[in-house]
C-alpha cells in the first residue's frame, strides 16, 4: 500500500523533523505511481503531485506522525478537498416538474441509474416519471419500462419514430397527467466524438432546459475519462456526475480525473445492479480507495 511504500521511503532518511526537498522527492514519486495505478489521468496526476509538493515543502512533521504519515495526510486531505468537500444532493429548486437528463458513454449504467434515481426520489416523497429517450438500442425502451413497472413508477410511452428531443418535450407536457413532479430522461449511450449524437443531446437540453444534467460514468474508466468528461461538459455544462459500478475493486481514479477536468460535483455512486444500490458520494472514502 502507499503507506507502506512511504514508510520505507522515509525510513532511509533518518531524523527528519521537517519535510524537505530531498525527502519529498522520493515520496512524491511513490504518490505519483499510486495515483497512476489507480487510473487517475496522467496530466491530472502531474498537476496534483506538484500541488502536493508546494503544500508539503517546509511543513513541520507533527509530533504524532512519521514523515510518511505526514505526506499521506497532506495527500489525503488534498484529494478529499478536490473531489468535493460538501455533500451535494440534486438541486431541485424552481418550478415543477423538475427534469433530470442522464447522459454518457455506451454501457455506463444510465438506464439502470434512471431506475435507481426514480426509487431514490420516491423515497424522498417525490413523484418521478421515467422517460425512455433511447430510440436506438435494442429493447432499451423495454428495459426502462420493466424497471418502471418493477418500482410502480410511471414510464412515458415512447414512440420510437419520434426524435428524442420531441419525446422529452411530449413527456414533459404529460407529466401532470400522471401526477409527476420530476422527469428522469434516459438517453442513448454515445461517443463524445460522435458529433451528430452529441448535437442531439444539445437539442434535448435546449428544448427542455433540464434542472440537472448528469454525466453517468463507469468508475473503472481509465485515462480516457478526462476526454469524455471534458467534452460532455463543454457541450452540455453538466450539473453533476454519477459514478457507477463503484462496489467493485476498481480504485476509481476516474473520480478525481472527472472532477478535476469538469469541476462539477459527483452527486451519487452506483454500488450494485439492484435499484436500491445508489448512494451519496463521499469524497473521503474514494480518496482512501484511490490511494490504495
Amino acid at each position: 500500500s502507499l503507506s507502506d511504500k512511504l514508510a520505507r521511503t522515509f525510513k532511509k532518511l533518518r531524523g527528519q523533523g521537517k519535510l524537505s526537498e530531498n525527502n519529498i522527492q522520493e515520496a512524491l514519486k511513490e504518490v505519483r505511481i499510486a495515483l497512476l495505478e489507480a487510473d487517475v489521468n496522467y496530466k491530472v496526476v502531474k498537476q496534483f503531485v506538484e500541488d502536493i509538493r508546494q503544500k508539503a515543502m517546509g511543513k513541520e512533521v507533527l509530533e504524532s506522525l512519521t514523515p510518511g504519515q505526514q505526506v499521506i495526510k497532506i495527500v489525503y486531505g488534498e484529494l478529499t478537498r478536490l473531489m468535493g468537500e460538501t455533500r451535494q444532493e440534486l438541486a431541485l429548486t424552481g418550478r415543477t416538474p423538475f427534469t433530470l437528463m442522464l447522459a454518457g458513454l455506451q454501457g455506463s449504467g444510465k438506464t439502470t441509474t434512471a431506475g435507481k434515481l426514480a426509487l431514490h426520489l420516491r423515497k424522498l416523497g417525490r413523484h418521478p416519471y421515467l422517460v425512455p429517450a433511447d430510440i436506438y438500442r435494442p429493447a432499451a425502451i423495454d428495459q426502462l419500462q420493466k424497471l418502471g413497472s418493477q418500482l410502480g413508477v410511471p414510464v412515458y410511452g415512447t414512440d420510437r419514430k419520434l426524435r428524442p428531443e420531441d419525446i422529452c418535450v411530449d413527456a414533459l407536457s404529460k407529466a401532470g397527467t400522471v401526477g409527476a413532479d420530476i422527469l428522469i430522461m434516459d438517453t442513448a449511450g454515445r461517443l463524445h466524438i460522435d458529433d451528430a449524437l452529441m448535437a442531439e443531446l444539445v437539442r434535448i437540453k435546449e428544448k427542455i432546459l433540464p434542472t440537472e444534467i448528469l454525466l453517468v460514468a463507469d468508475a473503472m474508466t481509465g485515462q480516457d475519462a478526462v476526454n469524455v468528461a471534458k467534452h460532455f461538459n463543454e457541450l452540455l455544462d453538466l450539473t453533476g456526475i454519477i459514478l457507477t459500478k463503484m462496489e467493485g475493486d476498481a480504485r476509481g481514479g476516474a473520480a478525481l480525473s472527472i472532477k478535476a477536468v469538469t469541476g462539477k460535483p459527483i452527486k451519487f455512486i452506483g454500488v450494485g445492479e439492484k435499484l436500491e444500490a445508489l448512494e451519496p458520494f463521499f469524497p473521503e472514502r474514494t480518496a482512501s480507495r484511490i490511494l490504495g
Binding site: 489521468n41 458513454l105 455506451q106 449504467g109 461517443l191 463507469d218 474508466t221 462496489e247 475493486d249
Partner: protein, 279 residues
C-alpha cells in the same frame, strides 16, 4: 514523436505520456521506457525514428500470443462459445456481431439467452437474433441460466447447429456468488458436451483502466479464458490495458469491436493496434 531531432529527456517524457494515457499501466510503461533507455545507452537507438520503431516492435511482441489449443467439436457437434465479462462491456452486442459473421461464413448459429437476470436482456438478444437471422434459445427472466444453457445445447445437437453463442449476465469479478454461477454454467456445458465450451471469451471495454487486469485474472482463474474481445475501440480510448494482460496471462485477443452495428467487428491486428497508440 514526429519531427523530433534528437533523443533527449523531453522525448522520453513524451513517450511516457503516450504510453500512460493509452492505459498501458505503470509496469508495462516502466519496462518499455527502460528497454528504450538501454538501447539508447548502447547507442543502438540514436535517432527518434529508430526509437519509435523499437518501441512499437517491443509492444507488438508483448501482444504476440499463440492461440490457446483446445478440443474441437466432433462430427455433428456445435462449436460452443461462452461470452463473459463485467457489466455493460458489450457482450450481447458482440454476440450479435459474431453471429452475423458466422452467418456470412455460411454457418448455422443459435444464440443462448444466458442472461436471465437483467431487465430486457432476453428481449435485447431476441431483437439481435431477428436482425441477424439466428434462433434464440431462451426461458423466462429469473430462470436458472444453467437450465437455459442446457436447453440451448440440446437444441443445437438436435438441429446439428454449427455455432452456439452463449450470452451471460454482466457481473463484477469480485462477486463470488456470481462467479460461482458462471462456474456452474461451465460445468453444465462440460457434462452435456465433453470438450465444450470450446471457447471462453472475455469481453473488455477499451475505456477500462487497470481494473481490466483484475478482471482478466479472476475470470481466467475461474473459467480458463481462451480469448479476449476488446470493444468500443471506435472511441478515443486506446485499450492499452491488453498489453499487460497479453504479456502476463498469454491470452490472445481475438476481435475488436469498433461500433454498435452487427458488422462492427474486426479480427485483432497487433501492428494496427500499436500504430493507433502512437496516433
Amino acid at each position: 514523436l514526429y519531427g523530433k531531432k534528437q533523443i533527449d529527456e523531453k522525448l522520453l517524457e513524451q513517450i511516457e505520456e503516450i504510453l500512460f494515457t493509452s492505459d498501458l499501466g505503470v509496469a508495462a510503461t516502466r519496462e518499455l521506457i527502460e528497454t528504450v533507455q538501454a538501447g539508447v545507452a548502447r547507442k543502438e537507438l540514436d535517432q527518434p525514428e529508430k526509437l519509435r520503431k523499437a518501441l512499437k516492435e517491443q509492444i507488438r511482441q508483448f501482444l504476440d500470443v499463440v492461440d490457446i489449443p483446445h478440443s474441437m467439436p466432433g462430427p455433428g457437434e456445435p462449436y460452443v462459445i461462452m461470452v463473459i465479462g463485467v457489466n455493460g462491456v458489450g457482450k450481447t452486442t458482440t454476440i450479435a456481431k459474431l453471429g452475423y459473421q458466422a452467418r456470412e461464413q455460411g454457418k448455422t448459429v443459435i444464440f443462448v439467452a444466458g442472461d436471465t437476470f437483467r431487465a430486457a436482456a432476453i428481449e435485447q438478444l431476441q431483437v439481435w437474433g431477428d436482425r441477424v437471422g439466428v434462433e434464440v434459445i431462451k426461458q423466462k427472466q429469473g430462470s436458472d441460466p444453467s437450465a437455459v444453457v442446457f436447453d440451448g445445447l440440446s437444441s443445437a445437437l438436435a438441429k446439428r447447429i454449427d455455432v452456439v453463442l452463449i450470452d451471460t449476465a454482466g457481473r463484477l469479478h469480485t462477486k463470488s456468488n456470481l462467479m460461482e454461477e458462471l462456474e456452474k454454467i461451465n460445468r453444465v456445458i462440460k457434462r452435456k458436451l465433453p470438450g465444450a465450451p470450446h471457447e471462453v471469451w472475455l469481453v473488455l471495454d477499451a475505456t477500462t483502466g487497470q481494473n481490466a487486469v483484475s478482471q482478466a485474472e479472476i475470470f481466467h482463474k475461474a473459467l480458463g479464458l481462451t480469448g479476449i474481445i476488446l470493444t468500443k475501440l471506435d472511441g478515443t480510448a486506446k485499450g492499452g490495458i491488453v498489453v499487460g494482460i497479453c504479456r502476463q496471462m498469454k491470452i490472445p485477443i481475438k476481435f475488436i469491436g469498433i461500433g454498435e452495428k452487427m458488422d462492427d467487428l474486426r479480427p485483432f491486428n497487433a501492428p494496427d493496434f500499436v500504430d493507433a497508440i502512437f496516433g
